[in-house]
């Protein structure tokens, strides 16, 4: 099977390890991964901030970049939600990309039909579901099922898991006080779970939470790790 990786702009520039992990994981599962280099940003931040006209060219670019692929896979719930839920407003061609786009855990569970991806990660982990994954994509227990099958991993409950972490794209900049208060509460809840790793499937949330952890001085007792990196980790090639 051949899929196109939509790595997303945040992962490309700031979290390449997540992209690399996604490639390694998919290849390990027998999938051929392409990276269409014409991709950049899906336009979510522009769209959500109220700049629809400025979003349109990015939508067109993204649609063109993934033309002809039956499956587009992305390790970012919020970008998947942008393609799936909002691209329809940008014309019939764009509307047609959404249904072909899969957030990583959806692709693994629904398309490949696996929950045990042969990963090994001996840590105590708690999972932040992220609003877009939870409410817009309805990922449900897919991430949980994947994490539960990881050898050595102890999954613990995150109190208030369904609450927003306070990132919200430009919200973090426009309403810094409220955003920071939300982030701090999320990190406190993660600390209360006694996990060493706060796992998520969206690096935007994890960037915000990691930045908060750093400021709170709780790193590395608690650290943010993307789900793809945990799933890519094996006994032969462990993630440190």
């Amino acid at each position: 099977m051949r899929v196109a990786l939509f790595v997303t702009c945040v992962n490309d520039a700031l979290y390449p390890a997540t992209g690399v992990a996604t490639v390694r994981l998919l290849e390990r599962l027998g999938v051929t991964v392409d990276f269409p280099a014409a991709q950049t940003c899906c336009g979510q931040p522009q769209f959500n901030t109220g700049y629809r006209a400025e979003t349109a060219p990015l939508v067109r670019r993204t649609v063109r970049a993934f033309e002809g692929y039956e499956y587009v896979v992305t390790p970012s719930g919020s970008c998947a939600a942008m393609l799936r839920r909002h691209y329809g407003q940008f014309g019939p061609e764009a509307a047609e990309l959404g249904p072909r786009t899969y957030e990583l855990t959806e692709f693994l569970v629904d398309v490949l039909g696996v929950t045990d991806v042969g990963a090994y990660y001996p840590h105590r982990v708690t999972y932040h579901p992220s609003c877009h994954g939870l409410r817009l994509l309805g990922l449900g227990d897919r991430p949980r099922r994947l994490l539960e099958a990881v050898k050595g991993l102890e999954l613990v409950e995150l109190p208030g898991a369904e609450e927003c972490c306070g990132f919200g794209g430009t919200f973090a900049v426009k309403n810094p006080d409220v955003s920071a208060a939300m982030g701090t509460d999320k990190v406190r809840n993660a600390l209360a779970s006694w996990a060493g790793v706060l796992c998520g499937a969206d690096n935007s949330c994890l960037m915000h939470l990691g930045g908060t952890m750093s400021r709170m001085g709780v790193l590395p007792r608690l650290r943010p790790v993307h789900l793809a990196e945990i799933l890519a980790s094996t006994e032969e090639e462990p993630l440190t």
Partner: protein
């Protein structure tokens, strides 16, 4: 009547709106700071946040349980959405039907295009009775138009009879929640307010008042009873108006509203035009969804319904003031109009992480929380700083949409209103648009983007931990470390 005109019959909306703004009654207080500044103070008020957190979390958990009891919740929600949408599409027709029914039942209908007009109508009606005191049922519409203040200016005193409204009124405070206006106060604060202020407004609090709920309730009961028995005029709002019968409906928990609705001689109800439902049968849906969403009760303790006047039973004079105040304009907006479906249950406030931290006052309007963030800028326009900042007072997490019993897609309307604010420009937004345009230029050129990334990655050792200009972000969070190379470059080296 034009195709987009869906509101109050007989009014051209725009001209009336401007009239209202000139009278200073519906617009925002020009001195009120934008949401981020207003929230700055409340976020750091530990006591306020504690009160809010406790109250909202308690009620949200109870709501979830009450909703889970109904197997057909999804159907009820969809039915509520449809009834409201259908009514809004033919609002002019239903309002005329309502007017006819109310008049036939012995009531009088008045049409108010804006706050100033509504206040004038109510003032004149009270003057005609010769009274200078009225009792009031908790009502969002009268708060929205600033009725109490308008009456005060004309020498008429309005007494709030809802317990939480009483606390707010005695404390010279502003409400901070739709359902629980004094949610930001704890028991100790309430005792102090009762002890210090009740005497100024009527019967003083009993000696040695404690902060136990029973004691506080008894003090309020004694204080209010005097007012119920003396009042000749009552002012109310309504949760619903039934077009086919001209019936008004108030649901409440305390029974104070029922005292106001039955004891006085004159009853004046001020109700937003969007509160109409076509038939009695439609109440079947809302009388299930409203109490479960708001107080997490299966049924609200008191449901009062009144239709015109009846000899020897209840008020002998009944006036209905139908309020537009921006609703017709809201109706003309195909995306924003869904905000008018709101039944004011406040479920969205109780699950909102932003409301929980910022508190209701930061929204600068009687409608706080997620619904306030979309309703207020539509009713008042986006000219003032606070109104222009409200559509951004959300992380778009979607929790509000999930709980809303009439399925208002609040995030969708927020983004829609952001477009409106951004399109209007203003200093901040001009810069922002320029930045977005510049970023868009780069993002449309992967080659330029890759070069930029490479430069950033190569110079990463030089980046200070806190990037100047990232200001608001790095005040409270650290930026991530720049990796050695982009994914794009890794791919080029390893997979091509």
């Amino acid at each position: 009547m034009s195709g987009t005109f869906l509101g109050m019959p007989g009014f051209a909306s725009g001209a009336r709106r401007r009239g209202a703004a000139e009278n200073g009654n519906t617009g925002a207080d020009p001195g009120f700071p934008a949401f981020p500044e207003a929230a700055h103070t409340s976020v750091h008020d530990e006591r306020l946040r504690g009160n809010l957190r406790h109250a909202t979390h308690t009620i949200r958990d109870k709501r979830a349980r009450a909703v889970a009891e109904l197997a057909d919740w999804a159907e009820l929600r969809e039915a509520g959405r449809r009834i409201k949408d259908r009514t809004l599409r033919h609002l002019d027709r239903y309002l005329l039907q309502l007017e006819e029914a109310v008049t036939a039942a012995g009531g009088t209908v008045h049409w108010a295009a804006d706050a100033a007009e509504a206040n004038r109508i109510v003032t004149d009606l009270i003057r005609e009775t010769g009274e200078t005191e009225v009792v009031k049922i908790k009502s969002m519409a009268t708060q929205e138009i600033g009725l109490n203040e308008a009456l005060e200016a004309e020498g008429i005193r309005a007494y709030e009879t809802d317990l939480a409204e009483l606390i707010v009124q005695l404390g010279d405070d502003r409400p901070s929640h739709i359902l629980v206006p004094a949610i930001h106060r704890n028991r100790g604060e309430i005792r102090d307010i009762f002890r210090d202020r009740m005497g100024d407004w009527g019967r003083a609090a009993p000696e040695g008042l404690t902060d136990t709920p029973a004691d506080l309730a008894e003090a309020a009961r004694l204080h209010l009873r005097e007012k119920f028995l003396r009042a000749k005029v009552a002012v109310s709002g309504a949760n619903f108006m039934v077009a086919e019968t001209g019936t008004l409906v108030v649901v409440e928990s305390e029974g104070n509203g029922r005292m106001c609705l039955t004891l006085p001689e004159t009853l004046i109800s001020v109700v937003g035009i969007e509160k109409v439902v076509p038939t009695w049968r439609d109440l079947e849906v809302f009388l299930q969804t409203l109490p479960r969403s708001s107080t997490a009760e299966r049924m609200n303790p008191y449901t009062s319904m009144w239709t015109g006047t009846t000899d020897g039973d209840g008020p002998s004079r009944f006036h209905l003031v139908l309020l537009d105040a921006g609703r017709t304009d809201t109706l003309a907006d195909a995306t924003g109009r869904q905000a008018l479906r709101c039944i004011r249950c406040s479920a969205c406030l109780n699950v909102c992480p932003v409301y929980e931290r910022a508190g209701g006052h930061a929204y600068g309007s009687v409608y706080p929380g997620p619904i306030g963030a979309i309703l207020t800028p539509q009713l008042r326009g986006t000219e003032s700083e606070i109104d222009a900042s409200l559509p951004y007072a959300s992380s778009l997490c979607g929790a509000c949409y999930e709980v809303c019993p009439v399925a208002i897609d609040i995030p969708e309307v927020l983004v829609h209103l952001r477009e409106r604010v951004a399109a209007r420009g203003g200093p901040g937004h001009r810069l922002e648009r320029a930045a977005i345009k510049a970023a868009g230029w780069v993002l449309d050129r992967p080659g330029v983007l890759a070069a930029g990334e490479r430069l950033a990655h190569r110079t990463r050792a030089l980046h200070p931990g806190n990037v100047p200009g990232a200001g608001a972000w790095t005040d409270s969070r650290d930026l991530p470390e720049m990796p050695a190379e982009s994914f794009r470059d890794w791919w080029r080296k390893n997979r091509t």
